[in-house]
């Protein structure tokens, strides 16, 4: 009887919730500014909490029909300085100014540590996944604080995404993205991420840090921090591979 009552109440509660689509759309708006923008990113790799590598990048993003085009310039390390990564949909290019070579790369290719090139590019979860609201549950967020979250199951419907299956937790109170688990086609856990350090950025409160942990070995962590965000008018030409050799930023 008690179980039945709990199930019934949970069902009523879920029915009263916003739909999975609404939840993820609101959360997407928090993760991604809707205008074209610039920001700097610092990616730091850790092994058992010990810092082992870092990469400083500048990021230019522009939304077009719900999809983000992104251009990344590597600032540090010095050996990779001024290399450019361009993503338009599933098409990604790596440009090396030292050899002037442009090579097509997979969005799954890792940039550093647990972070793939796709992770630093803005993603539109609501557009690219079939969403199911599973339940509401309490989880620990990236500051070890307990949060009440919607748990959404996500299954890719677009070929533009890097992860076929995702479990996504969104704060019930304010639709902040809190936690995500990314799975392979065979449902193997690839990585876990925590959205942290919420601050006022480009007109609303957004996460400025993402902590990514390896799906198997949690001692492998990658911290992605973002700063200096500003709205910027970006020409469409920047997102063309022929433009890469012409790109200049100082």
């Amino acid at each position: 009887m008690k179980i039945l009552l709990t199930l019934l109440t949970a069902t009523i509660m879920l029915l009263a919730s916003p739909t999975a689509q609404e939840i993820v759309q609101k959360s997407d708006k928090i993760r991604n500014p809707s205008s074209s923008f610039y920001q700097k990113g610092l990616i730091t790799e850790y092994k058992s909490a010990k810092k082992i590598d870092s990469m400083l990048i500048s990021i230019y993003s522009k939304e077009e029909n719900g999809q983000f085009k992104t251009l990344v310039r590597i600032i540090k390390p010095k050996k990779d300085r001024d290399k450019l990564i361009l993503r338009d949909g599933n098409t990604m290019w790596l440009y090396d100014p030292n050899s002037k070579a442009i090579a097509q790369m997979s969005p799954q290719q890792r940039l550093m540590g647990q972070s793939s090139s796709a992770d630093v590019m803005s993603a539109n979860f609501a557009r690219d996944y079939k969403l199911t609201l599973e339940k509401v549950e309490h989880i620990k967020d990236g500051a070890k604080k307990e949060r009440e979250c919607y748990k959404i199951s996500m299954e890719a419907i677009s070929s533009d995404v890097s992860y076929p299956f995702v479990e996504y937790w969104v704060d019930v109170e304010n639709f902040y993205p809190i936690h995500a688990r990314f799975y392979s086609v065979t449902k193997e856990l690839l990585k876990k991420s925590y959205y942290r350090k919420f601050k006022e950025v480009l007109g609303r409160v957004r996460p400025t840090q993402v902590l990514i942990f390896d799906g198997i070995d949690s001692s492998k962590a990658t911290k992605m921090e973002f700063a200096d965000a500003k709205e910027k008018e970006i020409s469409d030409a920047w997102f063309n591979k022929e433009y890469l050799s012409k790109f200049y930023e100082k």
């Binding site: 097509q104 070929s159 001692s219 700063a227 012409k246």
Partner: protein, 416 residues
């Protein structure tokens, strides 16, 4: 309603273990500043040892800077025999209109979607600063040509026109034979060339471009196509021309020996070059490329047999044939009608250690050129690379006939 959530939501605490390191990770202070005044200077010292004990120590200095309207790229190479200074690139960049960019000066033009060999890379040839049997390495280190280019970005289309004028008629056979200090315009601009590129990006997950390239000898038609599916990238690159092939041209340049001409020199005919392959990124971040290359003008199995028979029958021709191969390699062309290229790279197999594997394979004789590489970064500025290159096959095979069986290359790099 919120009360109901709090009362009945199942309480599952996830993510406790990985957050154990939070304090240590948070103690790191992020620094986002960039040193904007620093020049891009790269230095490299390399030590090469091969199976003939012909050791070579070489020092490289590269200075490259890209500013609002110009780019320069200088390179100094010094070893016991050669000290050379090269201007790889030096050009001015400007705009005619918002989406119309022009460039004028010495510019490196590199085209092609393939990873091993690029049939549509029409500006290759005798301009590589690296004498290597690996075409990829030669492609990465070449001199630009004097040219004017204009690129127009139009929604889904990109149009690019290039004109590179003839400046010198006297061309040296090998870049390594010329004076070591100079612009070497005779190597990069020895005939008139013009190209028209049309790139279309309107198909989802597909990239496509067509190229018309004219030079004094011939007209080339090239096409590049790629398709992305999940972790896979499939590609094809094709070039068709009616001309003498590079091997024939080299034969005319190097030797007019009737025996060589009779066996290998083909007159003008349609020549088709195709590179087709795939690139796969595994979940453990191993990136692998497998490529097949067809060159209708290359040597097939019977031609290779003739090649070695000719060398054995007429010893005076042995040296010429060997130099001919060097010439074709410096032209960044492939000798065989069919070749396979494999490249694999794993980042961070250990902390700051990357590994790579590369192989060229001749399917007729089974001979291979393979290379294992390890690259270790000490910090942001310093790196050590180690490469072991092995030539396998019998002495009458494409790769087995190289004078060395193996080579070790150790490099120390410092980035300012």
């Amino acid at each position: 309603m919120k009360f109901l959530y709090l009362l009945f939501a199942s309480v599952i605490i996830v993510g406790a273990n990985e957050l154990d390191f939070l304090d240590e990770i948070d103690s790191d202070v992020a620094v986002f500043e960039e040193d904007k005044s620093a020049l891009n200077i790269r230095t490299k010292i390399s030590f090469l040892k091969n199976s003939h004990s012909d050791d070579a120590k070489t020092f490289y200095l590269n200075v490259r800077e890209h500013a609002t309207h110009y780019l320069y790229d200088f390179r100094v190479i010094a070893d016991e025999d050669i000290q050379s200074f090269n201007v790889k690139e030096l050009y001015y960049q400007g705009k005619f209109a918002k989406n119309s960019f022009y460039e004028i000066g010495r510019i490196n033009i590199k085209e092609g979607i393939a990873r091993g060999y690029n049939p549509t890379d029409y500006f290759k040839g005798t301009t590589s600063l690296t004498l290597s049997n690996d075409t990829k390495e030669r492609k990465d280190n070449r001199l630009g040509a004097i040219l004017f280019s204009e690129t127009l970005f139009l929604d889904k289309f990109t149009l690019k026109g290039i004109y590179s004028p003839k400046i010198s008629v006297d061309k040296n056979t090998f870049l390594s034979d010329v004076e070591h200090v100079g612009l070497h315009l005779d190597e990069t601009n020895y005939h008139d060339r013009a190209s028209l590129y049309v790139d279309y990006s309107g198909f989802k997950d597909i990239t496509s471009s067509i190229i018309l390239h004219y030079n004094e000898d011939n007209l080339n038609f090239g096409i590049n196509l790629s398709y992305v599916y999940s972790n896979w990238i499939f590609y094809v690159e094709n070039s068709l021309k009616r001309a003498q092939n590079d091997i024939t041209k080299s034969i005319y340049t190097m030797s007019e020996h009737p025996l060589i001409e009779e066996k290998f020199a083909q007159k003008n005919s349609y020549i088709n070059e195709v590179s087709v392959g795939f690139n796969y990124t595994s979940e453990s971040n191993i990136v692998t490329t497998v490529e097949y290359i067809f060159n209708s003008a290359g040597l097939d199995s019977a031609d290779w047999e003739d090649w070695f028979v000719l060398g054995k029958q007429n010893l005076s021709l042995g040296g010429t044939l060997s130099t001919l191969r060097g010439k074709i390699a410096e032209d960044e062309s492939l000798m065989s009608q069919d070749s396979f290229f494999i490249f694999s790279r794993v980042s961070d197999i250990q902390t700051n250690l990357d590994a790579s594997f590369l192989a060229w394979l001749n399917p007729y004789d089974g001979s291979t050129l393979s290379q294992i590489g390890l690259e270790y970064a000490y910090d942001d500025s310093m790196q050590t690379n180690f490469y072991f290159r092995n030539y396998q096959g019998n002495k009458e095979s494409e790769y087995g006939s190289f004078p060395n069986d193996y080579e070790f290359l150790i490099e120390g790099e410092y980035f300012f």
